[in-house]
Symmetry: C2
C-alpha cells in the first residue's frame, strides 16, 4: 500500500475484482427504481439504500439519505486532505420506465451480459456510470489507504423526472456542497476508444398540452362535420409548431440561440462520422431536421421541439366511431446556451393561445425546465481530465457537446460557481431510454480505472 | 282477441305490461355485449341467446342462432300470411365499449332510470330499439293471436365493428331474406315528439394509419433534431388532410358528392333548430366545419374526416424524453350518396404515400367500408310508416337524414332490392357511443306501440 497508485496498479485492482464489481452492479440494476411511476417508490428507496451502503464500503464518511418531497438524495464526504482540491461527484440511481416491454431481448431488470455488453434498464444511464465512481473511490482507498483530495458525493433519484429535489437542495446547501469542481459520468464517448470530454449540454422544457373539444365524446356519424374533435385539434395545433423542414414556427423562438464558435464547429467537423452507420444502425431512418446543418449542429447546438407521446380517443382493437372530447400530448423543447427556459415557455403558451384551432381549448402544463449550458474548458480539472483520459485510452481526448440535458450541471455552475467535468463512458448506440439499453462491460471497468486515475492525478 | 287491434288497444297492452317490458330490457342491457373486445365474446353470445329466446316468446318460428367468423346472427320468421307483404325487421344486439368509464354517473351495464330516461350502454343503440321491435311483435300476437303479414327478423352482433358477417350473409341468402321492405329502428326522432322518418344515411370508411419513424425509440436529447419522430410524423401527415375550415384536402375526394335536391334542403331549413341548445347542451363547443353549410348539411349530406383516436410514445405520469418509433391513429371518412368507398380508400392511400413526412413510413389498413344511401320516399311502406307515426305521436311526420352509417340498409337495397323504413325512437341528445348513453323511457314504450301499429296497418 502506497500513498499513490499508478494507472497500472489501478487496472490490476480492477482486474482482480472484476467478478465482484459486476455482480454488485447487477444487484443495483435489479432494483427497478423507476422514478416517474408511483408504484415503484419502494424500489427507488431500496436503490437509495443500496447506493448509500456502497459509499460506506468505499470509505466515504458522513453518509446521509436525505428525504425530499419525492425520492431521497444521498450525500457523503471525506474531507481530510487540507490544501487539496475538493471534487463533488454526482450521479443518479433512478431510471426511465422500460416500456415498450415487448421489444426487450432480455427482461429490463434482469441484467445479462451478451457480446461484451451489459443489457438492462439503467445499465449505462446512470447506474453503471454512477457505480463506477463509487468503485473508483473504493479502488483508491484500497490501493493507498486514503484519498489524495477531498471528496463530496451527491446522488439523486429524480434525474429522469426533472430533478426537482436536487434543484431545491443545491442552492439551499451551498456551504455543504462547496467544491472546486464537479465530476459527472452520465455522458458517452464520442465513439468507441475515443476519450471524450463533453463541454456543452442542451437544456429542456418538458410540458403537457391538453386539448378539449366537445364537452363529451360524441358519435362521429351524428355530429361529424359540425363538432370539433379534440384529437384532430391537438394534431392540427402541434403540426403548426414546425414546418416540413423541422424549423420551429413559434415567433421569437430562435432569437437568443448562441451559435457555436467557428473553432468549435471546425473541431466537430473533423470528428469521424459515418453517415451510413448513423442512418442504418443508430436511428434506422433517414436523417431529418433543419436544412444546411450537420448532425452535430442538429443534435448539439440547435434547439428542438419533440412530441414524446400522444393519447386521446379510442385506440383499442377494432373500430369505435367517436369524436373525442379530450387529447393529451407530452411535448418538449431542447434548449441551447443563451435560451432562457422561462422565456421559451411563455412564448409557447402565447403561441398555443393564438393558434388553437376553432372549437378547441388548449392548456399547457410545465413539468420541468433547465437551461442549456457550456463548461469552461480552461479549468485545471478539465485539463487533468483530458490528460488522464488520454493515458487511460491511449488516444488524444476530444471535446464535444451532448444534446441531452443534465440540469444539475447548470445548477452547480449557477449556485456553487464551479465547472463540471463530464467524463462519460457510454457509447452512442447504448440505447438510453430505449428497449435493450446497454453498457459495454469493458467501459464499465475502464470507467472505474479512469475516474480513480483522475482523482489521484488531480489530487497531485 | 280480434284479428286486428287498434292503436288504443296496443297502448293499453303496453301500459298493462310496462314493468315487465322494462325489466326484460334491463336483463338484455346488463349483458356487456361489446363486440369489438375479444374478452367480451362470451357476453356477446349470451346476448344473442337472450334475443333468440325473446323472439320465441314473441311468437316467431324457425329461430336460428347462426354462427359466423365472429359473432352470431339471429334469424326468425313467421310466414303464414299468403298474399300479404313481408317485412324484414333488423336490429343489433352488440354495443360500443363504454370507456371512458370514469365519466358515467351510473355503471354502463347496470341500467338505471333517472328523470324518465334509461341510462346504460346500449339503452338506445340498439338494444332498446331492437327489443321494442320484438315486443311489438309480441303485442300484435298477444292482441290478435296471429300476425297480419309475413315477418322475417334478422339481428346481428357486429354492427359496432363494421358488420362483416351480415354483409357476407345477405348476398348469400337472398331467397331466405326476400321481403317487400325492411324495418329498422336504429335512428332518432328529429326532436322530442316529432315523428321522423330518416331517408338518408352516410357511409363509412374506417381505417388505421400506422407511422414508423426510427427503428427503435430514441433518446430525444441525443438524437432530437436529426431523427424523425413517428408521433410528430403522424401528426404532420394527418393535419395536412384537412384545412383550418375542415375542408378535406385529398385531391378528388369531393368529386362524386351528390348535393341534396333543393326541396330537401328547403325542408331541412324549415326544421326547428336551436343553435344555442346545440352548442351549449349537445356538443358543448363551438360549431366548426365547412363554411357556408348548415349543421344539417354538415352532418347529413357532407362527407367528413375524423381521427377517432391516436396513440404513440410515452403518455404515463411524469416525463419521458423519448423519440417514439411508432404511432397509430384510427381514422374514418363518413361518405355521402354517390361516393364509392373503394375509390375513396384508394385516393386516401395514394395521398398518404405522397404526403408522408421525411423519414416516416405510413401504412393504411382498412377495417370496414359502407356506402352512403338514400331511401326512396315513394314506397308504400314509407307512406304507411309516415301515417302511423303521425297517428302515434299526434303530429305530422318529417323526413330527415342521419349522419350515421347503417351499412345493412345499403346491403338490403343492393342485394334484396328493397327499401328500408328507418323508424327511430331515439333523441338527438341520447349520447350514442358516449358515457351516459340514454333512452327516454316513454320512447321505448312508444316505439313498441308504433311498430305494432305499423305492422297492423301495413298488413292491411
Amino acid at each position: 500500500m502506497s500513498n499513490s497508485a499508478g494507472l497500472a496498479a489501478i487496472n490490476q485492482w480492477v482486474d482482480a475484482n472484476s467478478a465482484r464489481l459486476l455482480e454488485e452492479l447487477f444487484q443495483l440494476i435489479r432494483i427497478p427504481s423507476i422514478s416517474t411511476l408511483p408504484e415503484h417508490a419502494g424500489d427507488v428507496a431500496r436503490a437509495a439504500q443500496f447506493t448509500a451502503d456502497a459509499l460506506k464500503t468505499a470509505g466515504l464518511e458522513n453518509i446521509e439519505i436525505i428525504p425530499t418531497e419525492r425520492h431521497p438524495l444521498i450525500y457523503a464526504d471525506w474531507l481530510h486532505a487540507p490544501g487539496k482540491p475538493t471534487v463533488l461527484c454526482y450521479g443518479h440511481y433512478d431510471v426511465q420506465p422500460p416500456d415498450p416491454l415487448e421489444l426487450w431481448v432480455s427482461p429490463p431488470f434482469e441484467p445479462e451480459v451478451r457480446n461484451g455488453n451489459i443489457y438492462a434498464r439503467g445499465a449505462v444511464d446512470d447506474k453503471g456510470q454512477m457505480y463506477a465512481h463509487i468503485k473508483a473511490l473504493e479502488a483508491v482507498k484500497a490501493l493507498t489507504g486514503t484519498f489524495p483530495l477531498n471528496i463530496k458525493v451527491l446522488i439523486e433519484g429524480e434525474e429522469e423526472i426533472g430533478g426537482a429535489s436536487i434543484a431545491k437542495f443545491v442552492p439551499e446547501h451551498k456551504e455543504k456542497l462547496k467544491a472546486d469542481v464537479a465530476l459527472v459520468s452520465d455522458t458517452a464517448l464520442y465513439a468507441e476508444g475515443i476519450p471524450t470530454l463533453c463541454i456543452g449540454l442542451r437544456g429542456l422544457c418538458y410540458m403537457e398540452v391538453e386539448a378539449q373539444g366537445p364537452s363529451r365524446d360524441l358519435h362521429s356519424g351524428l355530429y361529424g362535420g359540425a363538432a370539433p374533435n379534440a384529437v384532430f385539434g391537438l394534431i392540427e395545433l402541434l403540426a403548426k409548431a414546425k414546418n416540413a423542414d423541422g424549423v420551429i414556427q413559434i415567433p421569437g423562438f430562435y432569437d437568443d440561440v448562441a451559435e457555436p464558435a467557428s473553432a468549435e464547429l471546425d473541431s466537430w467537423n473533423s470528428l469521424p462520422f459515418n453517415a451510413d452507420e448513423y442512418v442504418n444502425n443508430e436511428i434506422g431512418a433517414a436523417v431529418t431536421g433543419e436544412p444546411g446543418r450537420s448532425v452535430f449542429e442538429k443534435t448539439w447546438s440547435r434547439p428542438t421541439l419533440e412530441v414524446h407521446g400522444i393519447a386521446g380517443g379510442f385506440t383499442g382493437a377494432g373500430s369505435k366511431t367517436v369524436i373525442p372530447a379530450k387529447a393529451l400530448a407530452k411535448v418538449s423543447f431542447r434548449l441551447v446556451p443563451n435560451q432562457d427556459p422561462e422565456k421559451i415557455v411563455a412564448l409557447f403558451k402565447d403561441w398555443v393561445a393564438a393558434n388553437k384551432p376553432a372549437g378547441i381549448e388548449a392548456q399547457v402544463k410545465v413539468l420541468g425546465t433547465s437551461p442549456g449550458i457550456i463548461v469552461n474548458p480552461d479549468h485545471p480539472a478539465i485539463a487533468v481530465a483530458a490528460e488522464v483520459f488520454e493515458e487511460s485510452l491511449g488516444r488524444k481526448t476530444v471535446f464535444t457537446r451532448s444534446g441531452g440535458s443534465i440540469p444539475i450541471v447548470g445548477d452547480f455552475a449557477k449556485h456553487l460557481g464551479i465547472p463540471t467535468v463530464l467524463m462519460g463512458f457510454g457509447l452512442p448506440d447504448d440505447g438510453l431510454h430505449s428497449p435493450n439499453e446497454k453498457f459495454k462491460l469493458a467501459n464499465y471497468y475502464q470507467g472505474i480505472a479512469t475516474v480513480a486515475h483522475f482523482l489521484q492525478r488531480y489530487g497531485g
